[in-house]
Every structure is written in C-alpha cells, then in structure tokens.
Symmetry: C2
Subunit: 343 residues, 2 copies
DNA sequence: AGTTAGCACTCAACTTAAAAGAGTGCTAAC
DNA sequence: GTTAGCACTCTTTTAAGTTGAGTGCTAACT
C-alpha cells in the first residue's frame, strides 16, 4: 500500500510522538509537530484514511490515534530516518564490548548486559552455532588420582572443557587407550553425528575396556553436544518492569519466556536477513504479542553464526536503537572472529 | 518481650492468616480461625495491646491488623510450628538437585533455578568460597599454534580453566619455562596472595622471558582470582512479578539489586548461623525493605563454604519454606563435598 | 480483674452523578 | 481539495453519597 507524501509525514509523526509519550496523538498536537501548513481538519481527514488503511487505530471514539503493528511496520520499512550513529555512541559501544582474552560466552554475556543497559530493554544473544563444525582435537589432562579434564577443540575454534571422574584410579595405559579411541572414533567427526546411537556402537566395540572408558567417552560426547548447541545469554530482565504498562498483562509471561532460552534461540535463528525487526504479533509467540524484537546477526569468517537482539515494547524507539544493535553486533562479530581464529 | 499464651495464639493466627490472604485480619475472622472461646471484644483488646507492643499494626483506623516486621520476627522465633518436611517434598527436592558429573557452578545454578520454581520466589546461591585455598596444580594444554588452555586445581578441589593466547608461536622451551615459573612461584601459594603487586615483582624477576610469559602468568592469576571469588547464581527473577503488590514500588529496585550479585554475596556471607532469616528492614539494603530472605549455608568437609537462599515478600510462608531451604541446602552441601573431594 | 455486649465512630472502598476536556466526524462554505 | 464550525462521543476527573468492615470505649457482668 503506497501512501501519499503527506500521509507518510503524518504517519511518521504519529509513530514518533507515540513512541516518545505513550499517549494517543490528536490532530492538534500533530499540527504543531508538523511543518505542514494545513488545518487540523485536513489532518483529521488524513488520519481517518490511515485508520481505514489499517495503519492507525483509535483506543476509543474521542481519543487520538496510535499506530497499529502495520503502522509501525510501514514506519520501519519506509519512513524511519536512518541517521548514522553518533560518534560518541559508537565510542560508548566499543568500550562496552571490548573484552580482551575472554571466552565467546563471556563476550556475549557482556554484550547482552551492556546492550540491555544501553537500551533499557531486555537483551539476548546466542553463542555461535557449531552446526557444521568437526572435532579437531581432544586432550586429557590428569588433575587427580581419578579426575581429569577433557579439552575439546572444534574446527571452528571453539574450545570446551569438562572435568571427568573415573571410577578407578587413572593410569597411563588408560589414557593411552582413551587417546586411541579419540583418534579412531572422534577426530574429524562432525559434531552433529555424535548421537546416542553412534555412542552405543562405539562403547560396544570397546569390549573389556568399555566400563572404564565410558566416563571419558561420554564426557567427550557431552562436550561435543555443548559445542554444538547455542546458548542464550540474557541481560536486563529487570528492564521489563520499566515498560510494564506497555506490556500489559504479558509482563510476567514475557519474563518467563525469556528465561526459557530455547524459544528465543529459535526466534533469533529463524531470520536469515542481516538484521530483522519483528513487531508485536509478527512474532509467532503469544508472549511477545506486545513486544518488538530488534535483532542482528553476527558473522564469523563470513558465516552467519549467531544473533544479538533486544526485546522491548512495540513502541520502542526503532530509529535510534536499530543502528545501535547493528553496530554492536558487527563489533561482536569481529571480536569473535578474532578470538576464534588465532589458534 | 514475653507474651501471654493467648496473645501468642492470636499473633500466630494473624501472621498465618495474613500470609495466606494478604488482607488485614479482623477480630471476627480471628474468632472463627481460633479455637478459643472468647468474644471478639476480648480479641480486640488483646490485639490493641499487641499493637502497643509493636507486633501488629493497622493500615488505617477501621481495618484489621497486619504483622509488623517485629511481629514476623516473634512468629519465626517463637511461634512457628516446625513440622518436619513431607516425605514427598523431600523426594521432590532430591530429584531437583541431583546432577551427576556436573561442575559446582552447574549444580548451584540448577539448585537456584529449582528452588525458585518450588517456592515461587527468587532464589540465589553462592559458589564455594576459595578463601583458604592454595594452588595445588597447574597444567598447560596446547590446543593451537598460539593457543593453550591453562588448568588450575586448588587444594579445595576446585578446577578452573581458561584459554590463553600467546603473542608468539608456542614451543616446548616456552612451555618448560612456564612450568618452572609455576613450580617456583605459584604451587602451594594461597589464592589470596596473588595480587597485582606480587605479579609485578614476579614479572620483573623474569627478565628476558617476561614478554612472552605475561599472557600465561596473568592467565594463572586470573584463574586464581576466579577460583577465589564466589559467584552468585540467580534463579526465578520473574517470580518477583508474582508478588508485585507486596513489594510495592521496590519491585524494580529489587530486580536490579538481584542482578548486581556483589551485595547479595555479602548479604549471604554476613550471617554465620547455620541458617538465617532476615525480615524486611533487618536487611541493611533499602532495596530489600519489603522483602524477607531465608538462607542456609552449606558445608564442605565441615566448613561453611557457601549459601543458598530465597528472597520473597515479608509475608512469605516461613513455616513451610524454611525447612525446604534447609533441606535442599544440606543436600547440595553433600553433593558438592562429593564432587570436590574425589580427586 | 478479666470478659463481654452494645454502640458510636472511623475510614477505605465502592457507587453514582455531574462536569470537564480532548478529540472526533460531518457539513457547508470557500 | 481544504477548512471553519459545531454537535457529538467517550474518557477522565471531581464530588458526594453510601456501604461495610472493623475498631475503641463504656458499662454491665462474672
């Protein structure tokens, strides 16, 4: 649906004013905010048409207009000014995500926390997916008579480790056996091929050694699983209370939804664009029906590997937050590429 | 302040009724809840005295009574029935914290999450403190041309690891040097003696090798720091919304407070009893003035090493939640002792 | 001295009515 | 196509009663 230039101006003004104040916008308010020399009656006529088109709605007969989800959508797609990010804001973001010598998890946790603080929204991020990775290396480090640490390195540079307890005292022949198993059965294997079925056949093939080796083998499998799964890092849940009125009764449901991780992971993974905005009911989840999600995806070695996003009320300040989320996400992508590549 | 038996009965009834309903309790309501054969007028007289003593208060002249913090305190200290935990609840708790082969962090995170779900409160726990621990062992595992993983084991059984990136390609002489430094300067050292000052003198003493060794040495120091610090595991923030009315305007402040970790860590560490209940303003933090904290401490090898607690409104169900928190905490203590001891 | 019936009193909470005000839609003129 | 003007709608605010739960006090009773 194409709109006349004047209608676009009016729609943009309504959206921006409503985002700022949270109050329905009337024709007179609009008149003074707009640099158009028409009367309020004309604006009323225009607004009536915008209601008919489905871009605006009235809470009740004698109130001003508020944007519908479609109105926000049109605004985001066509009207929103994409002013470049302030240098000072860039500087601030750079300072916020700079973490030397940290794990990807720590970087992303920090990024979520920082983004939440900066935007006053809840923020989420997913750790790089290990979908297409293979096992590059496995090491065993004895740390006690029965305890060792297993370290797994994937082809994508992810390093995971886990303490592993043996049922019997460790000795060098056991460790040698373990390395043999690793060599013959794990190295080079895609992470997603390590399922319970393959594990069972592997254990079955070990014969006598099965019993002592099971803790080690299953630890490797656990690590592979862990390296493959994306984790969801969550920050700023408390900010949901900040916009409590806007979320209405879904505030509690929203918090609970964020806590669950899995659906968020899917939500973020489902969009393949460079960045994406989902407004209200555009999200499939009913817990998000009063929320908008602004998300961007970071690349590692050019591959789309994870996402960072914020979740706020539908009347979130799209124009200024979208660039921030994108900038931060790119920065994190660079940082992660660096972290994961210099082995 | 000693109370007559009848006053105690009345106080207990008021507390329990108010905890259940959240409404001020009147003399007639009390009459039917109590198995005392007196008139409502008598109860009114008694309640008036309880108000004078500071155990009850009236929101306004013509309302029933609600307990003051002192009232809750008297109830918790003297009146609360300590009925033993239901077998089914015990079973449920046991299932909730059983985690085989997990790290202390994972165990405590799970425990917090579970406790929050079970009690409908926010739950926190602190990881074992490494205050009196020493460095028992340090290992270096090469995983790439410039990357290695450093593994640190403390005398208390805590294992921490961290990826470490060198500025130059690794070679065996560097690794040997690293192990020499570890041997001469780190092994046996109490964790809390590794501060920046000692690090600086150490680096200074390394001469030529300083530049290449700094990443390794500081990684060890980071790990020691990490092993010493207690982490705060948080669960069920969303439950704060469940009792929103009771928290009043402090709901947001409370959520923000929980997120900060550090003050909670101190709050939990400050009580040296086996278990402890802090009611409303008894907590030093004004963010907790409408909240009560029920906490218990777990022992590892008989030493008090960390805490688990729940945070709810002051009208929390003390009688049934205190035993749950204690039981769960003991269980977690056993689990951790087991996990950290079998090296 | 402790208990109780009785009653006047208080005060939040609810109900109702009226008034105010913001904003609209429509009509008729420009 | 635009606009002034006006009747109309519907929320919000204010005010005034009304209700009802619960109290405190007094005077009589045990």
């Amino acid at each position: 649906m194409e709109l006349s230039q004047r209608k676009e101006k009016i729609l943009a003004a309504v959206v921006e004013h409503y985002i700022k104040t949270g109050e329905p916008v009337g024709s007179k308010t609009l008149l003074s905010a707009l640099d158009i020399t028409v009367s309020s009656a004309t604006i009323r006529n225009e607004m009536a048409e915008l209601v008919a088109f489905g871009y605006l709605e009235q809470p009740h007969t004698s109130a001003g207009r508020i944007p519908t989800n479609e109105g926000y959508r049109y605004y985001v797609d066509h009207l929103m000014g994409v002013r470049p990010l302030d240098e000072s804001v860039k500087r601030q973001i750079e300072a916020g995500v700079s973490l030397k010598n940290a794990s990807p998890e720590a970087i992303l946790a920090k990024a979520s926390e920082f983004l939440a603080d900066m935007t006053d929204c809840a923020a989420v991020s997913t750790t790089p997916s290990g979908e297409n990775a293979t096992i590059k290396r496995v090491e065993f480090v004895p740390v006690g008579t029965r305890t060792g640490m297993i370290v797994l390195l994937t082809s994508t540079g992810v390093i995971k480790s886990k303490v592993c307890r043996s049922d019997v005292d460790l000795n060098s022949s056991m460790i040698e056996k373990f390395y043999n198993i690793v060599k013959s059965s794990f190295l080079g294997l895609p992470l997603d091929e390590i399922d319970t079925a393959t594990l069972q056949t592997l254990v079955a093939s070990m014969g006598m050694d099965a019993l002592t080796m099971i803790p080690f083998v299953s630890a490797v499998a656990d690590l592979a699983q862990e390296a493959m799964q994306t984790m969801v890092m969550l920050g700023g849940q408390s900010n949901i209370l900040r916009y409590r009125e806007d979320y209405g009764t879904t505030a509690y449901e929203l918090m609970d939804f964020l806590r669950r991780g899995e659906p968020i992971s899917q939500l973020l993974a489902n969009s393949k664009e460079d960045f994406d905005v989902k407004i209200g009911g555009e999200n499939k989840y009913k817990q998000l029906e009063n929320s908008s999600v602004i998300m961007a995806h970071y690349n590692i070695d050019g591959d789309n590997r994870g996402s960072i996003g914020i979740i706020g009320p539908t009347r979130i300040d799209y124009a200024s937050l979208i660039p921030s989320v994108r900038y931060l996400t790119n920065l994190v992508g660079e940082l992660l590429t660096q972290t994961l590549n210099d082995d």
